[in-house]
């Protein structure tokens, strides 16, 4: 019952418009620096990379470091020239890759 990433972007836009995109994914973002109650290091487990593509072309990407808080939230903009699909990818330290897609109609 993994939580689905949240995506917020307009369903429609005008050609050449700069749109705002917001994403949120559920993740503990364990830094690898904390200790548990027995004094043992809690192993690092973070989302280390996030990318956004539009119709297969890169739009935005970021390497994420342990300082980023739990449930990483991204807000960025993109200029859209044609209708198509945004595809978002989150890469976990353990190799898990989570993806989400959303379409936009450009007129």
């Amino acid at each position: 019952m993994a939580e689905k990433p949240r995506i917020k972007l307009p369903k429609e836009a005008k050609k050449g418009e700069v749109i705002e995109i917001k994403t949120l994914i559920a993740h503990v973002m364990e830094t690898g620096l904390r200790k548990d109650q027995d004094g043992k290091i809690i192993p690092r487990k973070i989302i280390n990379k996030f990318t956004a593509e539009f119709n297969g072309k890169p739009v935005f990407s970021v390497d994420i470091e342990p300082a980023v808080a739990a449930n990483p939230y991204m807000q960025f903009t993109a200029k859209v020239e044609e209708s198509g699909t945004f595809r978002f990818t989150w890469v976990d330290d353990d190799g898990t890759v989570t993806t989400a897609e959303q379409q936009i109609a450009v007129t």
């Binding site: 019952m1 939580e3 949240r6 995506i7 917020k8 994403t23 949120l24 559920a26 109650q37 739990a70």
Partner: protein
């Protein structure tokens, strides 16, 4: 005597609590099908164990909401001192700002240079010039040790009587108080509680990219439709379309339940009803229970809260809840009202934290806690209030918490549900 007293209380409640005449449509429909089956027994893990990461201190020698007779009795007379107080003023200055001693003095008082005047509270008077007040050493000593000997209505903790400070430490604090002769100098404007900005919550709690607790709404919906292996039944098997069926239901909770002789909130009701019908074992404070509570309250978002505090049983429960607000609990010896009534500590600063008032708080629970990355229902909030003032918490399904929740809900009547909330 007994019946007369009950009638008198009833009149009092009827006069002072909001009156709610009609049950909601959903409640009427539920009643038409007969009372909802409810499982008896514990609704929370038993024996109850405190949450991981919470202070482990055992304060069972002090009052709890269930046992208001555990704390040592208040002394009746000030202690006579043989001579002037001699103590280590430098150590006293450290002690008054020691956050490990239940927040210590600076939580409520500005005290000159103590703690570098870093975010002192303003529940109590500014003591920065107490050294000029001409107070006897004995008066100062007894006031710190146990202020109830001079003012039985005080909300100040009995620091010495409840062994938060030893007699030597009280000496040191008094020695420091005597040095306080000029107004505090604040490094920044917001260190002065009179100039600090009142916190305002402006985030859109129902925006899924803002509030991670919105994932619990998804999870609750899944659980609502999930068939339990043992019975083959889901909530949806009997209740059908949740959005229609539960459009108002949660706004009428908590509710007095005569069969169990206690008040049930959404969380406890969900456990007992699911256990008795689908067989799901959604104990209170489990992820499933919280998700269902968030989901069911979310379905009633925008509906004005209206709870029954007038029918037989409900009226008495709400009155017990009101009385519980005055019970002094914990080593710090605070009642709910001491901190949350604007006539006392409410709407003031306790160190850097703002104390909200009791009324109008129940519209947004369960709520996301951004500082903790957790969803807290109202019962966990009650438990933290208890532990934070050095009182042992009760299990989430405690009858006292039910009474308290009903009374507090009655102070939120008319507010529109907005769940999940989001708070620091």
């Amino acid at each position: 005597m007994r019946p007369a007293l009950t009638v008198a209380l009833g009149v009092l409640v009827a006069l002072t609590l909001p009156i709610v005449p009609t049950p909601s449509a959903a409640q009427q429909a539920a009643q038409a099908n007969g009372p909802a089956p409810l499982a008896s027994g514990d609704a929370a893990p038993s024996p109850w164990e405190r949450y991981t990461g919470w202070p482990a201190r055992d304060t069972s020698n002090f009052n709890t909401l269930a046992n208001p007779k555990a704390s040592p009795p208040s002394p009746t007379e000030p202690k006579k001192l043989a001579g002037p107080v001699t103590g280590d003023a430098a150590n006293g200055q450290k002690l008054v700002a020691d956050r490990t001693r239940g927040g210590s003095c600076l939580a409520c008082h500005i005290m000159g240079p103590a703690g570098n005047a870093d975010l002192p509270g303003n529940v109590g008077p500014d003591l920065s010039e107490i050294g000029n007040a001409g107070r006897e050493d004995e008066w100062l000593w007894n006031y710190v040790n146990d202020p109830r000997v001079y003012n039985p209505a005080t909300i100040m903790p009995p620091w010495g009587s409840h062994q938060l400070f030893s007699e030597t430490e009280v000496n040191d604090i008094v020695a420091f108080l005597k040095t306080l002769k000029s107004p505090a100098v604040f490094k920044t404007e917001v260190d002065n509680p009179a100039r600090r900005h009142t916190p305002v919550e402006k985030r859109d709690n129902l925006d899924a990219t803002t509030n991670p607790a919105m994932w619990a709404v998804d999870k609750g919906e899944e659980l609502y439709n999930k068939r339990e292996a043992s019975s083959g039944q889901a909530c949806a098997s009997c209740h059908g379309d949740a959005a229609t069926r539960f459009k108002t239901w949660a706004a009428g909770m908590p509710r007095w339940e005569p069969r169990l002789d206690k008040v049930l909130g959404v969380e406890e009701f969900v456990f007992r009803h699911a256990k008795a019908t689908t067989g799901a074992n959604w104990l209170m404070e489990s992820d499933e229970n919280i998700a269902m509570a968030v989901y069911l309250r979310n379905l009633a978002d925008g509906q004005p809260m209206q709870v029954d505090v007038t029918s037989s049983g409900a009226r008495e429960a709400a009155e017990r809840g009101r009385a519980l607000m005055e019970v002094k609990v914990g080593a710090l010896n605070f009642s709910c009202r001491d901190c949350h009534d604007p006539q006392r500590g409410g709407l003031k600063w306790i160190r850097g934290q703002w104390l909200g008032e009791a009324k109008g708080q129940l519209d947004h629970f369960p709520t996301w806690r951004t500082s903790l990355n957790q969803i807290w229902d109202i019962r966990r909030r009650f438990e933290w209030c208890n532990v934070a003032i050095w009182a042992n918490e009760l299990p989430p399904d405690a009858k006292e918490y039910g009474d308290l929740e009903l009374y507090l809900a009655s102070l939120s009547v008319g507010k529109k549900l907005s769940v999940p909330g989001i708070r620091h």
